[in-house]
């Protein structure tokens, strides 16, 4: 369907231009009126179209002139951001949007669905993508100049895969987008240190197992229902809950997706991959890849299988919640032991994805609000933190936390975003990190999961353990003067880099504070609507 899919897309590009007019004519409206009232149902494809154009244009223009690659990505990502903002607004006010690819009606054809949850996640992707794109303009040129064009080409392909995963309403189509995003992620992760290809290859092997398990699960579902459309399958499944094959399908899918989301104990690929990849690659993959996989897990458990059956069957909810909580503790403890800032953040990623897993496993409305909020919060925080790591590497050539001593005074602006994001990771009010954990804690209390609740609070202390240690090193210590020599031996002047490097982590870091301050409005306006219908009825009360 790779070629088949492209053919459909090409048909679409023609069609979406013509469709407005056809639509208007069908309604008997004045010819041309269609141009004045844009058809909102085209929004799902408008999100993907700039990315498809980018996949072709970025390498093409990049071959002509290197700098054009970055400029093209900026345009593409701005278009993506505009479309996803419009989509979220439209979806929140007027309900879900369905786009039939090439006009084939589901369940036979593939549809793109924008409901509040997918529109929200697409917006998160677009915002992080914009920030990383601004940052990458200078960072890739400074760190991996010979890889500039491939980097941006792969980045656009990654975004295409991720947006497709989020929006598609078809189980098999999701697998294809899954692999598109994974393959570009493997390539991006191979750009970096000398060892990057090794860790990337190991990620490839494990990621393929994950995706294959998902595909096997799709196979079981197809055998059982004869359909691949998510909404259609969700309707057919309740009659099949006694069939043991459905259990197998669920287990395969959850195992495969957990591997891609790096839920404990299937996180083994993550630390090396994040550490050895270049900081720019990591700052686009770390916030998005695992989070979108967690989103797909939510989509499968809550929207396809139905959380009531899926979570209680085999005690799967408890298994996910407990393993995720173990991952939170384990990731935090390992993060404390690290001397390399990137590896520390990689382990902390495992811990933070664990929080999302705890929310998914607990499965009441409060815990799910926490999990969905944390998808956004962690994306903003982790991206900011990894970008700051990259800046320190570029400005000082140091790869160890020891080298960070006193840098807060030498590079004040660089570390503002880092400080905010670190405080948000710890979960102090009024940052956004506090609120996602707050909702998680309320959810655990409502589920009477008291041990998990105690562990959740304890894990906050562990996170404080490693982030305050770093903040103390950055701000409270005097820099040692001999450290002013870079790893290459050349004298390095320690100062803030240019605006394009400082601004993105700063914006995301301050964003964590702003998101925390507007949290109450945000939860009621967006997150509550993004919950599955069954959980919406539950409400946020006791």
């Amino acid at each position: 369907m790779g070629g088949h899919f492209l053919a459909k897309m090409a048909a679409l590009a023609v069609q979406s231009g013509a469709q407005g007019a056809v639509h208007g004519a069908a309604q008997g409206a004045v010819h041309g009126a269609a141009l004045q009232t844009p058809d909102a149902s085209n929004l799902p494809i408008l999100i993907v179209l700039p990315l498809i154009a980018g996949v072709i244009l970025v390498p093409g223009l990049g071959l002509l002139r290197r700098r054009l690659a970055h400029a093209t990505v900026v345009v593409v990502v701005l278009a993506l951001l505009t479309a996803s903002l419009a989509a979220l607004r439209q979806v929140l006010s007027a309900g879900s949007l369905h786009y039939k690819l090439a006009g084939w009606t589901p369940p036979i054809g593939i549809e793109f669905v924008l409901d509040p949850l997918s529109a929200f996640v697409v917006l998160v992707i677009a915002v992080v993508a914009l920030m990383v794109t601004i940052y990458a303009g200078s960072s890739v040129r400074r760190q991996n100049p010979e890889r500039e064009v491939p980097f941006f080409a792969m980045m656009v392909l990654l975004l295409l895969g991720l947006c497709g995963m989020v929006m598609t309403g078809d189980l098999f189509n999701l697998y294809v987008f899954f692999e598109i995003s994974s393959l570009s992620a493997y390539a991006l992760m191979a750009i970096g240190d000398r060892k990057a290809p090794v860790s990337s290859f190991r990620y490839l092997l494990q990621g393929t197992i994950g995706a294959s398990f998902y595909l096997l699960g799709v196979g079981y579902l197809y055998v059982l229902t004869g359909s691949l459309n998510m909404a259609d399958v969700a309707q057919l499944l309740p009659q099949l809950t006694s069939n043991p094959a459905l259990t197998v399908a669920l287990v395969f899918m959850v195992a495969g997706l957990s591997l891609k989301a790096a839920l404990f104990p299937m996180h083994l690929w993550l630390p090396d991959a994040y550490t050895y990849a270049s900081a720019t690659s990591t700052s686009i993959i770390a916030p998005l890849m695992t989070k979108v996989s967690a989103y797909v897990l939510i989509r499968m458990i809550y929207f396809v299988y139905g959380s009531e059956w899926a979570l209680s069957h085999l005690q799967l909810g408890a298994v996910i919640a407990w393993l995720s909580m173990l991952g939170v503790i384990w990731g935090s403890v390992m993060a404390i032991a690290q001397r390399d800032p990137k590896r520390m953040l990689a382990y902390s990623s495992i811990a933070q994805v664990g929080y999302i897993g705890v929310g998914i496993g607990t499965g009441n409305a409060l815990a799910m609000v926490g999990a969905i909020l944390h998808i956004m919060n962690h994306a903003a925080m982790k991206s900011s933190l990894f970008m700051t790591c990259g800046i320190v590497e570029m400005q000082t050539g140091r790869h160890s936390l020891d080298g960070w001593t006193g840098l807060g005074r030498k590079m004040p602006w660089t570390f503002v975003g880092f400080a905010f994001a670190a405080i948000a990771m710890v979960g102090l009010p009024p940052t956004n990190g506090f609120f996602s954990k707050w909702y998680l804690a309320l959810g655990l209390a409502r589920a009477h999961a008291w041990v998990l609740l105690v562990l959740l609070i304890l894990s906050g202390l562990l996170t404080a353990g490693y982030f305050f240690r770093v903040l103390e090193r950055i701000y409270a210590r005097v820099p040692d003067e001999e450290g002013a020599v870079g790893s290459s031996g050349a004298a390095v002047t320690l100062r803030d880099p240019g605006l394009t490097l400082v601004l993105p982590p700063l914006a995301l870091g301050v964003g964590t504070l702003v998101l925390g301050l507007v949290n109450a409005w945000f939860v009621s306006a967006v997150i509550l609507k993004a919950l599955p219908v069954a959980l919406q009825a539950q409400g946020l009360g006791w």
Binding site: M1, G2, G3, H4, F5, F172, Y175, V176, E179, L183, Y186, A187, A190, D193, R194, K195, P197, V198, S199, S200, F201, L204, L205, T208, I209, S212, L215, L216, G219, Y222, V223, L228, D272, T275, Y276, D340, H399, S487
Partner: protein
């Protein structure tokens, strides 16, 4: 009864052989071969499901009438064509990574690579 389902058992066996190769073999190329066997097993699983004895391509034939048993289900075949494309692409990326690894480290044995990864603490 169960013996009639032997093709499914064959796919499970292939799946396990592939997993064994990926987990136990210490050479990265052998791991990649294991991955390919693993993916092929899943492709075969879909095809085995779609197979019908004495049925033909799903194009309407007046002589056969509209009896579903006379036509093979085309959807799993279409899906697996895509899955084959995906698997070829994955293999391509993996081979590109392997050639990069070999150029840099001069070996594809996992033990030697791991030793290199561990001893060389300094990144870069």
């Amino acid at each position: 009864m169960l013996i009639d389902k032997w093709p499914y058992f064959a796919t499970v066996l292939m799946l396990l052989i592939g997993l064994y190769g990926m987990v136990v073999k210490r050479n990265l190329v052998k791991k990649l071969i294991g991955m390919n066997i693993f993916q092929s097993a899943i492709i075969l699983f879909f095809i085995v499901y779609a197979w019908k004895d004495k049925a033909t391509v799903p194009v309407y034939d007046a002589g056969l009438g509209d009896v579903p048993a006379h036509y093979i289900n085309p959807i799993p075949h279409g899906l697996m064509l895509t899955a084959i494309v995906v698997s070829v692409a994955t293999t391509g990326v993996a081979l590109a990574l392997l050639s990069l690894i070999y150029k840099r480290f001069g070996t594809l044995e996992e033990d030697e690579l791991l030793r290199e990864l561990r001893t060389d603490r300094e990144r870069g």
